[in-house]
């Protein structure tokens, strides 16, 4: 099976083309492939397939490193666009892609950055779980956004808190720990459902960004810094 290893903001993927050949990618095989010591190593597996939807050029499916299929992945979507362009599979400027949570549109701007139209975020409620307040946000997949300025949490508690919140949801949830840096910037660490802490999470960045802009009056465009690196002026 041929694959392409990719990364978006440090969030890493393999992309496999299943349009012509079907591979036996069972849950245990995905787990072994994702292993960073005994396999290839990745946060998510992206599978390219043909789409039967009218507005979609392609379909892609997303599997976490535990082998579970998920609805949405912002960094993965950007890598998917780059994959399509790298292998010259489409000459369209905007590509419609069918995902488990609907059709999303991907394009590239003049600076060479890939733009993902993530739809409209839905900030459902503020929830208290064992003394921790978080925002429940849906943006293709579910997120719990913890604003660290509203909670007294030490970094060595992140793992335990993330697991506790994840287990309180039947299908799990991604948990983001957000710090506000300034009017246009936040810092974010995300514990992804089925993958654990990753260097970056695109949909997690969107969920936290939606909270920062709508609830904390931060300004758009908003820079989201995650562990995969930093920016310089």
């Amino acid at each position: 099976m041929k694959f392409t290893k990719m990364q978006g903001a440090g969030n890493d993927f393999i992309v496999v083309d299943q349009r012509k050949s079907q591979f036996n990618l069972t849950k245990p095989i995905i787990q072994r492939l994702a292993d960073r010591h005994f396999g290839i190593g990745f946060d998510q597996l992206l599978i390219l397939e043909n789409s039967s939807k009218k507005n979609a050029d392609f379909k892609y499916r997303i599997f976490n490193s535990d082998g579970g299929e998920v609805e949405q992945c912002g960094n993965g979507a950007r890598c998917f666009y780059r994959y399509i362009k790298n292998y010259q599979l489409s000459d369209k400027l905007s590509i419609g892609v069918e995902t488990k949570s609907g059709i999303i549109f991907l394009s590239e701007n003049a600076k060479g950055m890939v733009t993902v139209d993530m739809g409209s975020p839905d900030i459902k409620a503020t929830i208290n779980r064992n003394g921790i307040n978080y925002y429940h946000v849906l943006i293709g997949n579910p997120h719990a956004v913890i604003n660290l300025s509203e909670n007294n949490i030490l970094e060595d508690q992140y793992h335990e808190i993330a697991l506790d919140i994840q287990r309180s949801w039947k299908d799990g949830i991604n948990v983001g720990f957000m710090s506000i840096i300034d009017n246009n910037s936040i810092q974010l660490k995300v514990f992804e459902r089925g993958s654990g802490f990753t260097l970056a999470c695109g949909s997690g960045a969107c969920a936290a960004g939606a909270v920062a802009i709508s609830k904390k009056n931060l300004q758009s465009p908003l820079n989201v810094h995650m562990d995969g690196g930093s920016c310089s002026n």
């Binding site: 041929k2 802009i213 820079n223």
Partner: protein
């Protein structure tokens, strides 16, 4: 001027229209595996 590296992404959202996520995406390498060795 911003130089885009690693874990920085940018969110564009006016609270009325859809939210856009901007960032880099790169190919690291290509490879091939024998799935029989993983089953």
């Amino acid at each position: 001027m911003f130089i885009w590296m690693g874990g920085l992404v940018q969110i564009d959202w006016d609270m009325k229209n859809n939210l856009n996520l901007n960032g880099t995406a790169k190919v690291s390498f290509e490879g091939e595996v024998n799935l029989d060795e993983y089953s």
